[in-house]
Amino acid sequence: MNKKSMYLALGVVAVIAAFVLGGVVDLFATEEAAGKPEVVNVYTSRHYGVEPVFERFTQETGIQVRFTTGSDALLRERLRAEGKNTPADVYMAVDAGNLWLAGEAGLLAPVDSKVLRDNIPANLRDAGNRWFGLTRRVRTILYHPGRVNPAELSTYEALTDPKWKGRLVMRPATHSYTQSLVSSLVAAHGPARAEEIVRGWVANRPTLIDSDTRILEALAAGQGDVALTNHYYLGRLLQANPQFPIRVFWANQNDRGAHQNISGAGVTAHAPNRDNAVKLLEWLATAGQADFASSNHEFPANPKAAAHPIIVGFGEFKADALNIGEFGRLQADSVRILDRAGYR
């Protein structure tokens, strides 16, 4: 080795040593924090706006919240692999199907809490008390008022009408939002009719865009006239620009109501700080409920909590009262229906 490459190697080693040292110190810092004060550890796939809410919880209770983010499925596998040694106390997900699956896989322990029972409606929580919905998100019909008269709109099913050919913008089948919407169709009509409805949508050649925000922007730009998205994406866009031209239409108001999903949480089966975990859930369902829901323009699961003014402006509506756990039970069927119907 010549002198130059020797210096290079030495330099590289020095830099790395510095970084490793930094990393190790960082690690010990977090380890130390774990030892002393009261903590609750959260695995969460909901990360939008959780930090200020957790900070408020810490201020009010003295319990520190440490959280690690990730996608629903990855965090569930991590929980499963860690088993009894898991540091996680709470599993928080943004889709009922994932909570249902975690419950069925034995990753969540039942919580017998009067506070949660009294504040979260029965259809928004697990019958076995393993998980609880905390916020509601409604997937409904969005339209451009310049090109669509709301009188033309009625139900998800009616979007199969050929007059919507080339005018629909929807989310691809890979997303759980699409899947749980189809599950609600299966619950309402049975699998055969649900497949017919999906085929009807596909026949109208919808534009598929894998981002609700982008779907709304496409609608505003004129790529389509009617779309299906979660309501809070419009809430966000309106917050940034009150003139954003898209309107909400609440679907299926004359029958079962608009399709809603939840974000929610459960206490893990091997939670090292179980009491704190239950406290966090109860707090999120009551004192922290309005903030938690409003941080993402979602509707509170607790009917006593106030919703964000922007989404209150979308008007009163009736939501499908189906138990949210059904979306998990029916999800695989719905994906098969989507695949068979050619909805990609």
Binding site: A73, L75, R78, T174, R214, Q331, A332
Partner: protein
């Protein structure tokens, strides 16, 4: 038996030692996650396969084939041509372009995909402006298509070929070229019949890395509504909630990748690529003056603009809208995240390259078909979607942790908790497994060019294996090693699923931050950390490239 094998047999280290059994140990460790995934093939879920075959599988297979073909041809042409341009010619701005051309690699493909879609789709600025001028008929493209996916992935992945081809050219001796010139060979013939064949191991190594990356990608193809087999794996896992069936698909993908690698290797194995290179005897460069120089600089500019300048500009535009969020608190967060990302990437790069070097040179020195096959197997992990390999890594690591906890509980009555899952040790192990192909391909393709005579000479002079590696091989293949280190470094900076699964509680990286914001379509908040990823990747690239000469 060829002369090469005879020589290699002659110089083989026959003394049994700890060092010589090392490759098998390392191979076993790196192979474990892939085997965990592939073992699901032993218990196939027929109902899922039947459903897939009847519905989406044919389309997935066709799309995957098209993607591989498109990205393969695209990266081969772009990467090789650019590498040749900056190696063989002098033109205005060449020194700058030499490293600017590597930069697109620092751009995570999932960011690039989104940015391209955002710029060129219906609601994007290009079509909006065309519509406002009444020129919507000029819109000939459908960006959400296979074409869009292939184009974006080619732009992100060509640097793999470029970097390795450049190393391949740089390691060539000028004498073969001189000889050809003296014999009256034309420039075209010179390139295709002398330079290209000699650089072939490096170029092929680069293209196969690009192809494996394309095979494993599921995030980018989703933006373009172009589902491939990797996307199908995620569909089965998340949609049908069947991780077992998803692993089976991943196992098949690994076998497919392995077949590709092996067939390539068989083709390569029939030839020898040894080159003798003294000091300062690289390829001669030619000066391009006048308009020729302008054209050369122009080509480089167009590529750098399309693959880096344009997405960077869009990120800056979004970032400037989010500038209000940039409080000192946020800056502190970015600095911490950048520190975490950089340290993980640096450690992983060194570990992966060191192991790859040991493995590659020891298998070469020992020879044998079995060890060849095993080392080849190790690199298949790169063709699997990161999320799947992450599960394959998590399972053995958590079993290890459980075992440790059980033992310590039985012996001393204490449980240390999770040591490997949720620690930096586990993360580095996982990165090494995932990116072994990158390090190994880079190092091995360079090793291939060392003539056996050199090794023979060292052996005759009594050099031990360790000395042979550190004092003979290492200096000769420095360009390949540096290229490998850069590639691993940048890959780790961008890596997502493994970091998500295995990082310690509360320990975040830039890529995770970017992903969180991207998942929520908060593009103004994505821009800044994405820029930091790109900038952080830039420093080592610049540094290593200037040292590599």
């Amino acid at each position: 038996m060829t002369e090469k094998t005879l020589i290699m047999q002659g110089v083989r280290d026959k003394r049994p030692s700890l060092l010589s059994s090392l490759p098998f140990f390392v191979v076993a460790l790196t192979l474990l996650p892939v085997l965990v995934v592939a073992s699901s093939l032993l218990t196939p879920t027929w109902s899922v396969w039947q459903h897939l075959w009847d519905t989406i599988l044919p389309e997935l297979l066709l799309n995957t084939a098209m993607l591989l073909l498109g990205v393969g041809i695209g990266t081969l042409l772009l990467g090789t041509a650019l590498a040749w341009l900056v190696t063989a010619y002098e033109f205005p701005g060449k020194k700058t372009f030499e490293w600017l051309l590597v930069l697109p690699m620092a751009m995570p493909a999932y960011i690039m995909g989104f940015v391209y879609v955002a710029i060129f789709d219906f609601a994007g600025p290009v079509q909006t402006v065309l519509r406002s001028w009444g020129l919507e008929r000029l819109v000939f493209w459908q960006i959400r298509s296979g074409f869009g996916a292939i184009m974006v992935m080619t732009l992100v992945l060509y640097p793999y070929v470029y970097l390795l081809a450049k190393a391949g050219f740089a390691e060539q001796s000028g004498s073969a070229m001189e000889a050809a010139k003296v014999l009256g060979s034309s420039k075209t013939r010179l390139f295709f019949q002398v330079v290209m064949p000699l650089a072939r191991p490096s170029i092929v190594a680069g293209v196969s890395l690009a192809l494996m990356e394309a095979l494993a990608d599921f995030a980018t193809v989703r933006y373009f509504n172009f589902p491939t087999v990797a996307d199908g794996i995620l569909r089965v896992w998340h949609g049908l909630m069947d991780l077992g069936a998803a692993s089976e698909m991943a196992g098949l993908l690994a076998i497919f990748a392995l077949l590709l690698l092996l067939s390539e290797h068989r083709l390569r194995n029939r030839r020898a690529y040894h080159q003798v290179k003294g000091k300062n005897q690289g390829l001669p460069t030619m000066f391009l003056g006048g308009w020729r120089g302008g054209v050369a600089a122009g080509i480089c500019s167009v590529v750098v603009f399309a693959a880096f300048g344009l997405p960077l500009t869009q990120l800056l535009v979004w970032g400037s809208r989010g500038i209000g969020q940039l409080t000192p608190g946020y800056l502190a967060v970015y600095v911490r995240l950048a520190g975490n990302s950089l340290s993980l990437a640096a450690i992983a790069a060194v570990v992966a390259v060191a192991i790859a070097l040991l493995m590659a040179s020891l298998t070469r020195l020992r020879g044998g078909t079995l060890s060849r096959l095993l080392t080849q197997l190790v690199t298949t992990g790169y063709a699997l979607p990161g999320a799947v390999i992450a599960v394959g890594i998590l399972l053995p690591l958590s079993a290890l942790d459980r075992g440790i906890n059980m033992l310590t509980a039985a012996w001393w009555g204490v449980t240390p908790g999770l040591i490997f899952t949720g620690s930096i040790v586990g993360l580095i192990y996982a990165y090494t497994v995932r990116f072994m192909a990158v390090a190994y391909n880079s190092v091995d393709s360079s090793l291939e060019k060392i003539p056996p005579n050199t090794i023979l000479a060292a052996r005759v002079l009594g050099a031990s294996t360790l000395r042979l590696i550190t004092q003979v091989q290492l200096p000769l293949i420095m360009p390949g090693i540096l290229a490998g280190a850069i590639l691993v470094f940048v890959d780790v900076m961008k890596e997502l699923p493994i970091t998500v699964m295995l990082r310690p509680l509360g320990y975040d990286t830039l890529a995770i931050w970017v992903w969180q914001m991207a998942a929520e379509s908060l593009w103004t908040s994505v821009a800044l950390p994405a820029l930091v990823i790109v900038l952080a990747g830039l420093i080592p690239i610049k540094l290593l490239l200037s040292q590599g000469k």
